[in-house]
Amino acid sequence: MEFGIGIATSHDSWKLAQRAEELGFTHAWFFDTQMITADCFVAMGAAALKTSRIRLGTGVLVPSNRIAAVTANAFATLNAMAPGRIDFGVGTGFSARRAMGLGAMKLADMEEYIRVVYGLLNDETLETDIEGRRRKIRFLNPDFGLINTQDPVRLHVSAYGPKSQALTAKLNAGWKTFIADVPGAIGALESMQQSWKDGGRSPGDL
């Protein structure tokens, strides 16, 4: 069993990430709640410099907070600061959106966002809608040492219902959810395992 911490992002979250690393925690997940906490990528940058083993992830990033190209760039920059230690946790949004009077974003929009982020991280030239028009985009200088698109950035999807769990399986992603008790946690896992199986994934890969 791995143990991670969830960080209500602060200007000095690196201190908590550093202590978690000293204590043997494997992951530090930073909230992306722009109206409530500090900025996750700024805080993760500081943590990247102050740690050497613990994995650093968004827990979870909400796509509507920034365009996909900016997010891909932020992950690639972090990946240069902490090579191979970066996780992309993503969800349709609770706190980040409700604090602005918005409900969750559409699952299909999140899937498209993930496609663009990973296309850029894979150094692809891809098409996406920008300001109402279909445009081709790519990172122009990925081999110049400014960012790191070589080490993998793992994807983790926050999924509660069957549709988001099916998307998690479709994308072969890690699965994140909230739990408050053991029976509820076991029920959630069984539901996800079924979605994983329905998606044609091997049980051992979940």
Partner: protein, 119 residues
């Protein structure tokens, strides 16, 4: 989170993905009734989510009963927590993430003791 979700549901009809245990319905109803008085009236979500996951607003404290904590959070004794984590591990969970609230950073030391039992 349960209280804020319940108020969201009341304000805007957003889906509540966390079922509410009947034993704490009175606290939930009380919070929702209070949240109907949040201002500004056309943006009650501002007050609803202030402090969310960060701190308890003074006006929220009366709804956070021992029963609500027991039934809707992972809070327990060290021995009970170890048993719960073992149950999760046996069921196939492979990572447990502990949210650390600002001002309560010492909790990471407590959770490190739980973690060591599974190293």
């Amino acid at each position: 989170m349960l209280l804020h979700r319940a108020a969201d549901l009341d304000m805007a009809g957003w889906q509540n993905t966390s079922p509410v245990p009947a034993a704490v319905q009175e606290q939930i109803d009380g919070y929702v009734a209070m949240a109907r008085g949040f201002t500004p009236e056309d943006a009650r979500y501002l007050n609803n989510h202030r402090g969310h996951f960060i701190f308890l607003k003074p006006e929220e404290r009366r709804f956070i009963t021992a029963e609500l904590i027991r039934r809707t959070t992972f809070t327990a004794t060290e021995q009970e927590l170890k048993q719960r984590v073992e149950a999760l591990r046996s069921a196939g969970w492979n990572q447990l993430v502990i949210p650390i609230t600002p001002g309560e950073e010492r909790a990471i030391e407590d959770w490190a003791r739980i973690k060591r039992a599974f190293d």
